[in-house]
Symmetry: C2
Subunit: 139 residues, 2 copies
Amino acid sequence: MALNVDLARTGHRVTRARRAVAELIDSRSGHFTAAELLDQAHERRLKVGRASVFRALELFAELGALERLDLPSGEHAYVACEPEQHHHHVVCRACGRSVEVEDSGLLSVVSDIARRTGYQIDTHRLELFGLCADCGVAR
Amino acid sequence: MALNVDLARTGHRVTRARRAVAELIDSRSGHFTAAELLDQAHERRLKVGRASVFRALELFAELGALERLDLPSGEHAYVACEPEQHHHHVVCRACGRSVEVEDSGLLSVVSDIARRTGYQIDTHRLELFGLCADCGVAR
DNA sequence: TTCTCAGTTGATACTGAGTATCATTAGCCC
DNA sequence: GGGCTAATGATACTCAGTATCAACTGAGAA
């Protein structure tokens, strides 16, 4: 599977269900919801139980190969990503494609906020939505 | 109602249900979920229908007096806030209290990301989680 | 004050996401 | 191949949020 996840190394079994979910994810370019994945699995007549799809998504997210997004609509979605470092996603609201960006100047913004508010900040989440270069031109 | 929302001015009726929801929100200091509000309404024996609570939350969010948060757990929550300007929330994961922060250096980070990725970014959401000064000390 | 009517309510039923259960299956290591 | 145990998947369930719609009520007009 191209999805960047090494199950064996992390002590998880490589099963049919997990392989199927990873393949479905690989075949997509943008973000996707669990429902979309389930539909797609059904179309392709893959034998994967509903619960197993949710379990695989949860596992992949835990291993950092997938990140969970909250779309502005309130829906939960996922994007495949590199597990190594902390980063954020820029999501195209037209085609759904997303790009990873590293933290760039954000860390100093966060520590500035920590200093000003007295909070000890341990998690942050930045999500950016807009139009990618292609969709922006096409309008 | 102390909640910063002027229904009359925006052409909405001031109804019993909306007043009740606003009062429930005023009585809380931190963020809250719709479910918590519903429970609280029930405890206080307020006559507010389930649907009306959701509708009031939606309306207040639309008017900017409330902001919707996505907690790291995946739950949807709300915080009361000042409707005037764009801002972000720093949420304490122990007591739930939240503080608003203005955009500070974030705008330049966002435009930097836009330049580097070629995306035309029109929405962003920054959520910060950690421990507030009190809860940080108490540990 | 009363009238009027559109905006709003709330009871109910529904949808759809995600989870718990548990007997069965199948990876993985020996 | 055998055995242990993680994982599966069918099913049923919970719970958030929404659609429906008859009944109600807030607010301006008379």
